[in-house]
């Protein structure tokens, strides 16, 4: 039964991983740019949740959408002011651009909020319920299910709507898209907006049960890299499966070999994927 609990918790966290990783994979697949500040976007969203709750005493019904909107705007702003200019430049510029952004976000937050860990109250969404021997923490369950729903929703948005096909057309072939009258710039800005909004929602959700600190983005970014590489870059369904998998693996390794070593397992998995299947577990050879 404990094992069932561990897997369930891993699955719920994994759904949130899947959501913010979908944002990364969308951006990456569309313009072959890696957002090294992705984890810090999640971190900013966590602080949005924290500030809204502590200063205004408002719950997730407010801070989740608010974080989504704010991060969407941040994503679009970053695209127009930075990414658009560095993405055709040398590799050094491509990598340093968003890396510099990560440092600014991380250490500006540290400056404002200090390095202390903070968190939202455990019972923000009510007390723990026990069903069939499984402890269901409302915050985890809500976060996990909401993230799962939104990740699937993002997939449907990309595959079932006119907007989605325009986005994918630009991802497929920028020049061909221009020939059929799709301007790539707004589409790419939109992809950055949506990708960042994913981190907004995911960050606000994960804040319900995760510690919040200015440097938390560092490990979250690495998780997003693992998920995207594992799922194959550009693939939202891939990110979903990989996110859930990583959540469960992480949870199981924390259980079996101790929480301190869970990151070791995730990193080793990442390196193994990079070395043996750089196209992702689910990608084509």
């Amino acid at each position: 039964m404990i094992l069932g609990q561990v897997v369930l918790n891993g699955f719920l966290v994994g759904a949130v991983y899947a959501l913010f990783s979908s944002g990364l994979t969308l951006i990456w697949g569309m313009m072959n740019v890696v957002n090294f500040a992705h984890g810090d976007f999640v971190m900013i969203a966590m602080y949005v949740a924290f500030v809204v709750f502590t200063a205004l005493h408002l719950g997730p019904a407010v801070f989740v959408p608010l974080a989504a909107v704010l991060l969407f705007l941040l994503g679009v702003l970053v695209y127009f002011s930075l990414v658009r200019h560095v993405m055709r430049g040398p590799m050094l510029a491509q990598i340093l651009g968003t890396f510099g952004l990560a440092l600014v976000l991380r250490y500006a937050t540290l400056w404002v909020f200090s390095a202390n860990f903070v968190s939202l109250p455990d019972n923000l969404l009510g007390p723990v319920v026990t069903v069939a021997g499984l402890r269901l923490e409302p915050s985890r369950v809500v976060a996990g299910l909401a993230a799962l729903t939104l990740t699937i929703g993002l997939h449907l948005l990309l595959t079932r709507t006119a907007l989605g096909s325009r986005l994918l057309a630009v991802a497929e072939d920028r020049n061909a898209a221009m020939l059929v009258g799709i301007r790539p710039d707004p589409m790419q800005a939109l992809a950055w907006g949506i990708g960042a909004a994913c981190t907004g929602v995911a960050g606000a959700l994960i804040a319900l049960f995760f510690y919040i600190s200015p440097t938390v983005g560092e490990s979250l970014a690495l998780i997003a890299f693992v998920v995207v590489c594992l799922g194959g870059f550009g693939s939202v369904p891939g990110a979903l499966v990989a996110g859930l998998l990583i959540g469960v693996i992480e949870s199981l390794s924390a259980f079996w070999i101790g929480p301190a070593n869970k990151d070791v397992v995730v990193f080793i998995l990442f390196l193994a994927v990079l070395w043996f299947r750089p196209q992702g577990l689910l990608g084509k050879a």
């Binding site: 890696v34 491509q94 340093l96 952004l101 990442f270 990079l274």
Partner: protein, 330 residues
């Protein structure tokens, strides 16, 4: 026409200028009494050394490693573990740190140097973080607390001096060796091949450039010197913990110091260090503990600006200014 007349004059002028700079670098610490400045000078040399080592892989070969602290940490830990376990003078651990770094460079390089651009950067971040977490969780390696060197110097071999000056000259000497190598390399086949790989790897290979092999060579030299820098740093400070020996910010610092001065240029890292290290030390002195946060906000802003406006760093800005001047002189 005019170029052929001024060329020898210009290179003679450059030689005089270089000699002057060298002399200034050698003499200034002796003229400055203030220990704080001397210490900043030593740290500039150290940062220039590690950034110049990074520059071989990241600058010349264009493979952006963000995990170079892995090698730095090997050196630093090898030095102080040698002392902790066997009471060796810290510097005796340096060869072991270098050996371990070279081994890791091969293990890391063979698979990751195959990876394209971003993947290589991500793999190096993950590797360095992996090493850091492993050390944090290994009490025999000092865990999260870290390990120390000799409390009081036992002999000259401990390289434990109260004044920063000896460190300034030691770091400077190793830097000089590395820069000499880089200068030679820039004119030899290896330098041409690395720059070609950075420019267009596919095209380079079609001209017979064994890209994998040359990237690995660059990584090996780079790892060796980075490790040596780590060992010397450990001898100077007499202490290393996961943050000061394996923290991701150290990797970032190597990248940004090179990028600011000009990645892939001989003196770029030295120039970058001469600007950034004093900036960091003065903010730290002025703001105390808060300084770290401010420093990295500034660092982040600087690299964003560089990548947005001048990916070639100050070297590129200088070249543009020269071109602008030449256009307006006419």
């Amino acid at each position: 026409m005019s170029a052929s007349i001024t060329a020898p004059a210009r290179s003679a002028g450059r030689l005089v200028f270089a000699a002057f700079v060298l002399l200034a670098l050698l003499v200034w610490p002796l003229l400055v009494e203030n220990v704080f400045y001397q210490r900043v000078g030593a740290l500039v040399m150290l940062a220039a050394l590690s950034a110049s080592a990074w520059n071989l892989v990241g600058g010349y070969a264009g493979q952006i490693s963000i995990g170079h602290v892995l090698f730095f940490g090997c050196g630093a830990y090898a030095s102080l573990l040698g002392f902790t376990w066997f009471e060796w003078p810290p510097i005796m651990g340096a060869p072991f740190g270098i050996a371990l770094s070279l081994l890791l460079a091969v293990l890391v390089g063979l698979p990751t140097l195959r990876l394209k651009g971003h993947y290589f950067s991500m793999a190096t971040i993950a590797l360095a973080e992996l090493a850091r977490i492993i050390v944090v969780n290994s009490p025999s390696l000092g865990g999260g607390v870290g390990i120390s060197g000799p409390a009081i110097p036992r002999s000259m071999a401990d390289l434990s001096f109260i004044s920063p000056l000896p460190y300034y000259y030691i770091f400077g000497a190793v830097l000089a060796v590395l820069l000499l190598f880089t200068w030679w390399m820039g004119r030899a086949r290896m330098g041409f091949y690395l720059r070609a790989i950075r420019g267009q790897e596919r095209a380079a290979r079609s001209l017979g450039v064994p890209a994998q092999r040359y990237k690995l060579y660059a990584l090996l030299v780079s790892a060796g010197f980075t490790s040596l820098a780590g060992s010397l740093y450990a001898a100077m400070v007499g202490f290393v913990d996961p943050d000061s020996g394996l923290g991701i910010l150290l990797s970032v610092k190597m990248v940004i110091v090179s990028a600011l001065g000009g990645a892939g240029t001989l003196f770029g890292p030295l120039v970058g260090a001469a600007i950034l290290v004093p900036l960091e030390e003065f903010t730290n002195a002025a703001f105390g503990g808060d300084g770290t946060g401010i420093t990295y906000v500034v660092y982040g802003a600087i690299i964003m600006l560089i990548s947005r406006y001048a990916p070639g760093g100050l070297a590129e800005i200088l070249a543009r200014l020269k071109a602008w001047g030449a256009r307006h002189a006419r």
